[in-house]
């Protein structure tokens, strides 16, 4: 007996796709921002820090509205994407991924920044004196030693993406099969009488996914704090 209908599986699959793409997009950006904030002192550092954290404190609807202003068909970035690459984001699953990515960014940056700050800079100095240039020292010392934070941030961001609601519904709307992810489907189900069963099943899936992500991120953060990385 299949516990979920084909439509419900479709919702789960769409949610996973949106969140995975959001993660793939955000990981390198988040790591670069985390590295800048952890290792560099530059003018505008406080501003960057505040900007990255903004989605954490803004009402998600406002974040979604800002995304519409920027990436909408008539927005500056949206126009540019449309005319150069033929990419449209609003009302598409890619737009849902962008909204999820922006909302996940602060959590990911925080986790990664902590783990980069925990890497002893003296080790980087040792690598340099052994003949490694900046890039090799980064790739062989800072990056591998901060990997637990990258995993933790990724998992945390993934969980945040799975649960994203406000920015997504504002920016990408609630289109079945295109942008109706788990939380949007649950919300829609609640609007219609008689769908209590579907709502409950989707809610259980959300809870399980979130719990798994939380446990995984906790595991990686513990490893980062332990500092003794024999498995690498």
């Amino acid at each position: 007996m299949n516990p979920l209908s084909a439509e419900e599986w479709g919702i789960v699959a769409l949610s996973l796709k949106v969140s995975l793409v959001a993660m793939a997009l955000t990981l390198p950006v988040a790591y670069a921002v985390a590295w800048l904030l952890a290792r560099r002192r530059f003018p505008g550092r406080m501003l960057l820090d505040a900007l990255v954290h903004l989605p954490l404190v803004l009402p998600p609807v406002v974040t979604g509205w800002l995304l519409l202003l920027l990436f909408g068909r008539s927005g500056p970035v949206g126009q540019w994407l449309d005319s150069w690459f033929g990419i449209t984001l609003p009302f598409r699953w890619t737009g849902a991924a962008l909204a999820a990515a922006v909302m996940a960014l602060p959590l990911m940056v925080r986790a990664m920044r902590l783990s980069i700050e925990a890497v002893d800079r003296k080790l980087v100095g040792a690598a340099r004196s052994l003949g490694a240039g900046r890039w090799r020292a980064f790739a062989t010392i800072t990056l591998p030693l901060s990997l637990p934070g990258v995993f933790a941030g990724g998992v945390l961001g993934f969980a945040r993406s799975i649960g994203e609601f406000g920015a997504t519904i504002t920016f990408a709307s609630n289109i079945p099969g295109e942008t109706r992810t788990l939380p949007l489907a649950i919300y829609s189900g609640l609007q219609v009488p008689g769908l209590e069963g579907e709502v409950a099943r989707l809610a259980v899936i959300s809870i399980v996914l979130s719990l798994l992500a939380l446990l995984a991120s906790e595991y990686f953060m513990r490893r980062a704090a332990g500092g003794r990385m024999h498995a690498f």
Partner: protein
């Protein structure tokens, strides 16, 4: 001239001045703890920028504030044995040793392993090494990077007398047989007296 160094290094509020002009292979740098000996070594290795001055070792100018020369650390070819060793925790001993290995260096992997007696350690993680073992690995790692000179920061600290004697003998053979310029930081007068007559004091 093996060592031609005249620098001023900022360390917190203080300014540390260090002058070394010597033609011997091994120069000892002494001074009370906290005097800034390690800062001087960091400046020579390129990990800390001096406020002004000039650093030339074995005929190569590494830093010259007047001439605008400031080689990055990876171009200075320093074999730096740090006081806190700084072995890479995520690499086994073998991978630590080969991190800076240069093909055609003046000493090979097998030679270093034999010289320092570290063959049984090659597959261990740094976190599992004793103080003396870790120290020998750090020295081996520095030697394998085919350095043009050595910076040894308290290389005998935290070693038992027997191990200390072995390391001391190793340093002497590097000094005599390889003719490599060595800057040796220590607070132990007898250790210094045995290695060299040229002692530079930092206060």
């Amino acid at each position: 001239m093996h060592f031609d160094i005249d620098i001023a290094v900022q360390r917190g509020e203080r300014e540390i001045a260090c002058r070394i002009a010597a033609d011997t292979n091994l120069v000892a740098l002494v001074g009370s703890s906290g005097a800034g000996k390690s800062s001087v070594l960091d400046a020579i290795a390129g990990l800390l920028r001096p406020m002004r001055g000039r650093i030339a070792i074995a005929g190569e100018t590494l830093f010259d504030s007047d001439a605008g020369i400031d080689l990055p650390p990876e171009a200075r070819r320093a074999g730096y044995v740090f006081q806190d060793l700084r072995l890479f925790p995520h690499r086994r001993v073998r991978a630590n040793l080969t991190y800076g290995e240069k093909p055609g260096g003046w000493i090979g992997f097998d030679e270093v392993v034999a010289l320092l007696d570290i063959a049984p350690l090659l597959d261990r993680w740094p976190a599992t090494l004793s103080g003396g073992e870790a120290k020998r690995v750090a020295i081996g790692r520095a030697l394998l990077s085919a350095p043009h000179f050595l910076l040894l920061d308290e290389p005998l600290a935290s070693l038992d007398p027997a191990r200390g004697e072995e390391i001391l003998a190793t340093i002497e053979s590097i000094r005599d047989e390889l003719g490599l310029p060595i800057l040796h930081v220590s607070h132990d007068a007898s250790e210094v007296a045995r290695l060299t007559d040229i002692v530079v004091r930092i206060d």
